[in-house]
Amino acid sequence: MKTSNFDHSIKALAIFTLISLMLTVASCTGKTDRAENLILNGAGATFPYPLYSKWTSQYNELTGVKVIYQSIGSGGGIAQIRAGTVDFGATDAPLDKEELDRLQLIQFPMVMGGVVPVVHVKGIGPGKLRLTGPVIAEIYLGAITRWNDPAIKELNPGITLPDEDITTVHRADGSGTTWIFSNYLTKVSPAWAREMGNAKVLAWPVGAGGKGNEGVSAYVQRIEGSMGYVEFAYAMQSGLSYALLKNHAGNFVAPSPGSFFAAASMADWENAPGYRVVLTEQPAEESWPITGASFILLRKEQRNSGKTRALLKFLDWCYRYGEKSASGLEYVPLPQHVVDGIESYWSRTLAAGGKSLWPPRGEKGDKE
């Protein structure tokens, strides 16, 4: 009774498996129609769920291929792709190379996004407050406790800051947003690296925890003198006052698809083992310092080459045509050269029976 979440996901999984089994049987016994009956299953990160569900429904309308994505969390996604119960997994925090090799998985980025510090201080509108990473770290560590602290005043000479307590708000649930945020703070603040570290859940010394991006933004909206961090889309939709951040090049930048894209453009994607690219604190002039990517996980060893090809085609479609819906939801597509690199990575690593599964050759020739 206490593990109802878990129960539900197992139940949901059982139902999905049953349905897909039934449909597989149906597709075998009926006329072997190609795309119409194909179902691809994915599970994992909650952060890209709005985007993935939009893509899957659009793709279904276009091609008849059904892609089911369950946002059960990165941990569950990793466990399920490992067990082979889903065709792809998704995670916000990238796995490192050793772990990928141990679990026999490959990993590549699917989409980018940014994490934005938001504040609720009287008289301070969006884009007015300037902050640096080390100052944010000290606020979250409880070392800076009031808005009129000299360290904040020094960054904001033109603004009158109130003599008010700062209430920090963090994510209470395990989250890729926290992972990216703490990854950034670990890079820029030695104190943070020593006391807190980089993880999806942290031992917060001060502040309140909200559940999900919506929980954090609701708390920040409510609490006078509060500060939180949320996914970019939530910062825009909730109308909260986001802060400007000083990036690696020394410029104060605003969060925007442009500044996320700038962060991605300088990263060394090709040489990162297992595509483990972290986009925080990138050197470009305009780059937003807390940028991150969300990742897809596939099994190295593919059992059903027809299904894998269909899955790769879907992902390829997302890279090429998914941009419009991605921008609508305030996510940011990957740069083209990165997409090309990922697709050549598929053709190098994914194989069934010694034959490469990507790129798709003539439509008729690739039947098993």
Binding site: T167, A172, Y219
Partner: protein, 312 residues
């Protein structure tokens, strides 16, 4: 002529007996299975932290150091607040409905309260976060701070969310269950007892406190533990408003966490074995706490049965 003789029971009875026995057996087995599985899945954490898990205040997924104390504390405090509010209120509601209200009004108010029991807990949570917590922060907490600020209970910024709002929301959720049971208990008091009391010149208050409440004492305890059982494990509504911080503070304004809210928050993204195992051990602790409450309830009821009048 054989009917009721008790000699020959027939196949129907045998089947019925077997079916009821089997149902009871399956249920007991399921409970034992839950306990076993919880213990088995938390063995990593038990081996690492031992009994220290129960009184360690640490909860650090980065350094892999876990302890249950702040969650146990939050569970107990939020439940305590809920019971302190809900029990007198539901007692008053039940007495009003049974003893004082005109029958038509009593029926309608009764329906309304039962309707409250049908509201899903997530609705309570969202209402708590978006409506009730802001109200607390703007109107109630500043007032409390002004007059009670010298005590440790009302310190810190009045955020609305925190231990206090979690306790009050829980009280609202428990209320329909306890008051419904209490109403039943009171309405079962034989009219002749009450009439005798009135006949001896007792006032309504005296009749209520000396006859009705005493007669139903056992049932009232049952209602209390029913409410307690519901409050202690409530997850979603608490998660929304408790503030979700792994810390212990005497202030009711500060953010805390309960076992159930920690599980709801952290289970999905916990991929590390020791972390996962510690979360399961939290579940085991909650299981043990609930068991303890039920055992105490059982003995208390037995004790009450000896000292007070009444049936059941």
């Amino acid at each position: 002529m054989k009917i009721g003789s008790g000699k020959h029971t027939g196949y129907g009875d045998v089947l019925f007996k077997a079916a009821t026995f089997l149902s009871a057996l399956i249920f007991s087995l399921a409970m034992a299975g839950v306990a076993f599985e919880l213990a088995r899945s938390s063995r990593l954490s038990i081996a690492k932290f031992g009994f220290g898990f129960l009184w360690s205040q640490a909860w650090n997924p980065v350094t892999q150091d876990f302890g249950a104390l702040s969650s146990i504390y939050g569970t107990l405090v939020s439940t305590l607040i809920a019971m302190v509010i809900a029990i007198p209120l539901s007692l008053a509601i039940a007495l009003f409905l049974v003893e004082l209200a005109p029958p038509a009004l009593s029926r309608w108010v009764g329906y309304a309260i039962e309707l409250l029991a049908a509201i899903p807990s997530i609705i309570f949570g969202m209402w708590g976060l978006f409506v009730f917590a802001p109200f607390l922060a703007d109107h109630v907490q500043p007032f409390l701070q002004k007059f009670g600020g010298f005590t440790p209970f009302f310190k810190g910024p009045p955020m609305g969310i925190g231990m206090m709002s979690a306790g009050i929301i829980l009280a609202l959720m428990v209320l329909p269950f306890t008051s419904a049971v209490m109403r039943e208990v009171f309405s079962m008091t034989p009219p002749v007892l009450k009439e005798a009391a009135y006949g001896m010149g007792a006032t309504t208050w005296e009749t209520t406190s000396k006859v009705t409440v005493r007669f139903g004492a056992k049932g009232l305890m049952g209602a209390f533990f029913l409410g307690l059982g519901r409050a202690i494990g409530e997850t979603m509504a608490v998660t929304f408003v408790i503030g979700n911080n792994h810390s212990i503070s005497a202030s009711l304004f500060s953010a805390g966490n309960s076992i159930a809210s920690t599980l709801a928050n952290e289970f999905t993204e916990a991929s590390d074995p020791l972390y996962l195992s510690s979360l399961v051990e939290l579940g085991l602790v909650l299981f043990a706490m609930t068991l303890l409450v039920q055992t105490i309830a059982h003995f208390w009821l037995r004790h009450l049965g000896k000292t007070t009048g009444g049936r059941q």
